[in-house]
């Protein structure tokens, strides 16, 4: 019930927002900025961060010391199932 209420409220708010944008905002410019920031993040910013992380990891020869990895191995194994793929 709560879930359905949240879905309904969210849909109404999105509808109100999009209708307001259609009526009061210059839509094309808004859409370009709306999608542009998402694309800039996902296609430019995030890959740059991942690349920097990769270079850092290679340069440092790994993130965590071996002893710690062994010590927290159980946590690692437990977390493996929940890892985001």
């Amino acid at each position: 019930m709560v879930r359905r209420t949240l879905y309904a409220a969210g849909a109404v708010l999105i509808g109100v927002g999009l209708a307001g944008i259609g009526r009061h905002v210059e839509v094309v410019g808004w859409a370009v900025w709306f999608a542009g920031v998402a694309v800039a993040h996902d296609a430019v910013f995030a890959p740059l961060v991942l690349g920097a992380a990769y270079v850092t990891r290679r340069a440092c020869g790994g993130v965590a010391p071996r002893g710690r990895r062994r010590r927290y191995g159980h946590a690692r194994r437990a977390a493996r199932g929940a890892r985001i793929r």
Binding site: L6, I21, W33, A38, R68, A82
Partner: protein
């Protein structure tokens, strides 16, 4: 004798329906190959994310914090909007004096502190962008659509908000209008996303995560970044920490030259400039202040405008009230005054309405001086409105007309 087949004759022999089927099969094969290549590429990209911080629990914790910060920003943003554009049934109180300052301080602090939080969350869930197949069903497509609205809208709000902090508007739309309507889209997407992901957040309580130092360190780093942003912004609202407010809007410039293109330099400097007062018991106009002449020498008449103005003149300070400075209590109850800035023609904030709670508040002033000195042009010389618990854009500068209705 072997003869080469004529392709045109061959084509004629093949029935058109068969040709269509062959073309469809070819396109299916091509699509399958593209699909396979894309899947291979996506799976290969997926192997890049080896960090255990790309984790459901980290994402859930960050999502919980983002939900709180977005809610605070949304509610305080609505306060600002409805303060500036009140519906007929709504009257904003004049007390406590710092209420608007508090809500908008919370809005800005929450917005700025959300930047590291949102970037951390997007980094954590970034592998989900490369999931395969990209769309599994109609419901899954709708869910991803909502996530796009959430991600795009959140980034849009933060990026345009940061530009606004710096008074830089490189976009082709009016900031406050786009910020306001996009907030509905973002908060609606937040509600739907919360309904989708609530089970994972509940799981945080049932199964405490087996924290290793790196996950805890990651969350602590994000919290530290958010705290640092908050501390370096809060001085805008909380004066004792003013020296730390390096990220506060407009810092380090303390005064913003409002409307430089529409500043009425010549007209307001003119010695014959007058404040026109119209409406109930306001039948006249009085000269306010003349260059090189103290404002208190200006002719005074017993009008509402003069009462307010002369109250300011006598005090010479903003913020201290005396009986002379107040409009008579009881007589004006239920009426609204409207101050109007004539020179800023076409500007959105050239007029502002003063509702009864502010109209009757002794701290509401039409100010001519500040600390014994005439107002500077940027501060609204020769006359400006100052009222408690109101946004800056409604503290109308260069007041030329007062209408009481």
């Amino acid at each position: 004798m072997l003869r080469r087949a004529d392709p045109r004759r061959l084509m004629r022999r093949v029935a058109p329906a068969r040709l269509t089927r062959m073309a469809a099969a070819d396109s299916r094969r091509l699509a399958r190959r593209i699909d396979t290549d894309a899947e291979r590429l996506t799976r290969r990209i997926g192997t890049v994310f080896t960090s255990r911080l790309h984790d459901e629990r980290v994402a859930a914790w960050l999502g919980l914090c983002l939900g709180v910060s977005f809610t605070v920003a949304f509610v305080t943003g609505l306060v600002s909007h409805f303060m500036q554009h009140p519906p007929s049934w709504m009257v904003w109180p004049s007390r406590p004096v710092g209420l608007y300052r508090f809500t908008q301080g919370a809005h800005v602090i929450c917005g700025l502190a959300t930047v590291p939080l949102l970037l951390a969350k997007l980094w954590t869930v970034y592998p989900k962008l490369w999931q395969w197949p990209p769309i599994r069903s109609v419901a899954h497509a709708a869910r991803r659509g909502v996530v796009f609205l959430l991600v795009g809208g959140s980034l849009f709000q933060l990026v345009t908000g940061l530009f606004n902090v710096d008074y830089w508007y490189p976009f082709p739309f009016f900031f406050t209008v786009a910020h306001y309507w996009t907030a509905y889209v973002v908060f609606g997407a937040v509600l739907i996303h919360a309904a989708d992901e609530w089970a994972k957040v509940k799981g945080l309580r049932r199964h405490p995560p087996p924290y290793g130092p790196s996950r805890r360190g990651f969350l602590a780093t994000v919290a530290g970044a958010c705290g640092l942003v908050a501390v370096t912004t809060v001085g805008e609202t909380f004066t004792p920490l003013g020296d730390l407010a390096v990220l506060a809007p407009g810092a380090p410039a303390p005064v913003r030259s409002a409307c430089p293109s529409t500043r009425p330099r010549s007209r307001r400097r003119h010695p014959e400039h007058r404040l026109a007062a119209r409406g109930h018991r306001c039948r006249t106009a009085g000269a306010l202040a003349r260059p090189g002449r103290p404002a208190r020498d200006a002719p005074a008449r017993r009008t509402t405008a003069d009462r307010l103005c002369r109250g300011v003149e006598r005090r010479g300070h903003l913020g201290r009230s005396t009986a002379e400075g107040r409009p008579a209590r009881g007589r004006r109850r239920g009426r609204r005054a409207c101050t109007r800035r004539v020179a800023a023609e076409g500007g959105l904030y050239r007029a502002s309405q003063v509702d009864p709670p502010h109209w009757h508040d002794p701290l509401t002033l039409l100010a001519l001086e500040v600390n014994g000195e005439p107002l500077s042009l940027d501060h609204g010389y020769p006359c400006r409105l100052i009222a408690p618990d109101r946004p800056g854009v409604m503290q109308t500068k260069w007041v030329a007309k007062l209408e009481v209705s």
